[in-house]
Amino acid sequence: MTKEYKTIVEVSGPLIFLDKTEPVGYGELVQINLPDGTTKRGQVLDTSADMVVVQVFEGTVGLNEESGVVFSGETIKLPVSKDMLGRILSGAGEPLDGGPRIVPDERVDVNGAAMNPYSRMPPEDFIQTGISTIDGTNSLVRGQKLPIFSGAGLPHNEIALQIARQAKVPGSDEDFAVVFAAMGITNEEAQYFMEDFEKTGALERAVVFLNLADDPAVERIITPRMALTAAEYLAYEHDMHVLVILTDITNYCEALRQMGAAREEVPGRRGYPGYMYTDLASLYERAGVIKGLKGSVTQFSILTMPGDDITHPIPDLSGYITEGQIVVSRELHRKGIYPPINVLPSLSRLMNSGIGDGKTRDDHKAVSDQMYAAYAEGRDLRGLVAIVGKEALSERDRKILEFADLFEDRFVRQSRDEDRTIDDTLRVAWEILSELPEAQLTRIDNKYIEKYHPAHQKTSE
């Protein structure tokens, strides 16, 4: 299968159209030889007896009808091996660090196959990130996909790095790795990550894929697939617990939109392809734990919401697929609070299976619910106070208003290297909750109040 076709009849955006080929497989990897001797790679999007459509990853600059096209006879594969750890690869999987090519153990289709739901083990191992707004109120578990929904200029990278540094499963020291995939982020941002990885020694345990802002957008469509393929390999062949950080999902979706437009597809909401949900699911769903296997893939991706709008199709469709989201808030950031995580729109759906007696602590859920309820009410009251003044509030409401401030100041705020244990987090939680009248703690069972409420602790001592 090394026959070269010179039958390009049309080049349009990132697409080329050829006729008179032998039968070509859907999704096949394609090499394009340009007249100037350079090569590009692409993938078959549509194949028939009369016409083949190829999407070119590196863009079609310099391509013309004289270019030759060679079909590889197979879909896109990533050479994988344990030696990938510590390596920096391009968004298409080629070494960027001057090191040798990866000597593959296996070559794996980057699209991956769907994990059989019957093989899945419901994730339930609590990961302590050291950040109270995550551990206390939106707990992450191994095998979960929990993205950060952020906005331009907010400290999402710092949060992601802090998590990558601090994340651990209390009481275990199993093999872990980080797979980091940059999609369309700036060189500076990428450097920020790389330096931190180097400083903390994390690079040795990391595989890095870089598709930067000035790399071809189409390549972005395979970058996360490469990264997830590497992650699955390390997790399921080498029993590692892999944390995958994909950033920025928004750039990935822009690339998808660009491709759709080039193919002249009927666009869905706000110009994004109608299949974007399914496409994103094919990335996010590649997180999980398999029964009987030791490793796991946890995804903690970054998504910057265009215009800070959570109803924009990118965060919206993501939120419908992921197992919750951590929302970074501009308002808290402006107030100077780090990490500026707004817990109200944040959610971890797998929290319930990761916390409680024997995992974190028996009162964890109740404490979290109580803080949510009180903080939500407190924030509403802030709006009211702005209109009617504090005096118009009842005694009960005033307490709740104060609680909201305490919550932001003591529970949310922590320093950039403060690694709180879950006990620290719950202690802070009880401290601020005890500022509310006990009768108002309606979400908490009496037995927990007796066990953990500071007021009761004193009397029992």
Binding site: T47, S48, M115, A281, D369, L384
Partner: protein, 578 residues
């Protein structure tokens, strides 16, 4: 009759083929690997096929075989406790055949051909039997007696009927015309199974969820939709219904949603007890899991696979509930396929037939008298996932035109962890009137009054809140402040229900009644006290009121409630007044 042809074009899940003498919805085997697909469009010599598996690497020129059969499910003993993909391949078998990831080209029977079942005939030689007649029974699980029925299209006289242990494809009955009948039958999924008569739904589906049973009940055989933005509680609500509803059979379709959610059900249901029978919940459940990353054409089919299985148990005289999570993903699968077919798009790119498909699906719900003369029902509860949480989009709107119950999830409520976050002002049930008699006979004569009162309070609350937003609550007259307080009790003590609390997750109707009655009683005593001059802050700070908030969590609810209510009487007596 099989017809051979070849592939002309491959573009994702849509493959164009030639030479197969297609009929619409014929099942075809595509390519060297024999990937399963279904004819969805015929144009001249070419037929368009939606393929249920990944088509990477498939080439023009590869062979195609038309089986000449429509997409069908296998119906017979062994459906319960199974987990299938969208085209009824058992996921457990797929795992045995190809490991933890679903590769393609593997076929697997919906029903196990090795397993034997004890068949007890209920007809004798010479009996006349018709389509749908019961000819025997099999004890499928401890509580479900599986009725072996004649396929709806077959009738005749029994020439031979067997008894004993058989596999599902072995003949158990022969008719006079020579027709040999195994226990198993097939039914094409895209059309409804016939019934003798459709009946009016008259009984509620008791779900153990206070806001559903109490405020917006759905009838057995009814239809309900739960629309809501992401993370607002669609799946948790559907799972609560699957767990606690007083139904005989549950068909749960995970349509384009998360793999972990299905794993959770698989993990949990064998451990949980059916409140009605005490048996493991899994024994009454059939799961269909075509998650978001599984092929989109099979997702489109999953909903039909599920409802056909539901109809089959309904025909045996069972009450079935079917949950589809999420119907929006099904609609999107239609949209995806339609756009690949380059059909004229309708609203927001959905095909023009969206509304017709949705109503055909919900029409398959209902309370019926089956061909066997048995009364059964299918209650359909569909989750809807509107983009951006905006209910004005086509799937939500088209669904609301059909279903009778609307449980509107509200992100504002879920964000403050008010669960279930069903908005009590915008939700409705069109069954409330029709079920009123049932409630007064089976719950309490004053149930409907209590409910209406509570709803009225909540309505007043929302009006008063508008004033509070302008002037603060302290500026309201005391009686109105009291109204706000009682409404808050209804919300927090009654409507809020924690699905993850071991006790509160399921609330029997009697408990719902007592709880609402107690809140109402507090309201009456408080109003009386206020009228006789007791100051408001004394009334709302009595201890028993706060204790009432927590009785729902008590194992021994009745005892705890008695203590609290006795204390309440005492406290009000001490407040005096009059």
């Amino acid at each position: 009759m099989e017809v051979n042809g070849e592939i002309y074009r491959v573009a994702g899940p849509v493959v164009t083929v030639t030479g197969i003498k297609p009929r619409m919805y014929d099942v075809v085997k595509v390519g060297h690997e024999g990937l399963m697909g279904e004819v969805i469009k015929i144009q001249g010599a070419k037929a368009t096929v939606q393929v249920y598996e990944d088509t990477s690497g498939i080439k023009p020129g590869e062979p195609v075989v038309n089986t000449g059969m429509p997409l069908s499910v296998e119906l017979g003993p062994g459906l319960l406790e199974s987990i299938y993909d969208g085209i009824q391949r058992p996921l457990q078998v797929l795992q045995e055949k190809m490991g933890n990831f679903i590769e393609r080209g593997v076929t697997a029977n919906g029903l196990d051909r090795e397993r034997t079942w004890e068949f007890k005939p209920t007809v004798s030689n010479g009996d006349a039997v018709e389509g749908g007649s019961v000819i025997g029974v099999v004890q499928e699980t401890a509580n479900i007696e599986h009725k072996i029925m004649l396929p709806p299209t077959v009738s005749g006289t029994v020439k031979e009927i067997k008894s004993g242990s058989f596999r599902v494809d072995e003949t158990v009955c022969v008719l006079a015309d020579g027709t040999e009948l195994p226990m198993m039958q097939k039914w094409p999924v895209r059309g409804p199974r016939p019934v003798a008569k459709k009946l009016m739904p008259t009984k509620p589906l008791i779900t153990g969820q206070r806001i559903l049973d109490g405020m917006f009940p759905v009838a057995k055989g009814g239809t309900a939709a739960i629309p809501g933005p992401f993370g607002s509680g669609k799946t948790v609500t559907q799972q609560q219904l699957a767990k606690w509803s007083d139904t005989d059979i549950v068909v749960y379709i995970g349509c384009g949603e998360r793999g972990n959610e299905m794993a959770e059900v698989l993990n949990e249901f064998p451990e949980l007890e059916d409140p009605k029978t005490g048996r493991p919940l899994m024994e009454r459940t059939v799961l269909i899991a075509n998650t978001s990353n599984m092929p989109v054409a099979a997702r489109e089919a999953s909903v039909y696979t599920g409802i056909t299985i539901a109809e089959y148990y309904r025909d045996m005289g069972y009450d079935v509930s079917l949950m589809a999570d999420s119907s929006s993903r099904w609609a999107e699968a239609m949209r995806e396929i339609s756009s690949r077919l380059e059909e004229m798009p309708g609203e927001e790119g959905y095909p023009a037939y969206l509304s017709a498909r949705l109503s055909e699906f919900y029409e398959r719900a209902g309370s019926v008298n089956s061909l066997a003369g048995l009364d059964g029902s299918i209650t359909v509860i569909g989750a809807v996932s509107p983009p951006g949480g905006d209910f004005s989009e086509p799937v939500t709107q088209n669904t609301l035109r059909i279903v009778k119950v609307f449980w509107a999830l509200d992100a504002k409520l879920s964000q403050r962890r008010h669960f279930p976050s069903i908005n009590w002002l915008t939700s409705y049930s069109l069954y409330t009137q029709g079920l009123a008699d049932w409630f007064s006979e089976n719950v309490a004569p004053d149930w409907t009054d209590l409910r209406d009162n509570a709803m009225d309070l909540l309505q007043q609350e929302s009006e008063l809140q508008e004033i509070v937003q302008l002037v603060g609550s302290d500026a309201l007259p005391e009686d109105q402040q009291l109204t706000l307080e009682i409404a808050r009790m209804v919300r927090e003590y009654f409507l809020q229900q924690n699905a993850f609390h071991p006790v509160d997750t399921y609330c029997p109707f009697e408990k719902q009644y007592k709880l609402l009655k107690s809140i109402t009683k507090y309201g009456e005593m408080a109003t009386a006290a206020l009228e006789s001059g007791v100051p408001m802050n004394k009334i709302i700070t009595i201890e028993s009121k706060d204790e009432l908030a927590k009785v729902k969590y008590e194992e021994d609810f009745d005892a705890a409630l008695d203590v609290v209510m006795a204390k309440m009487d005492e406290e009000f007596a001490q407040l005096g007044g009059n």
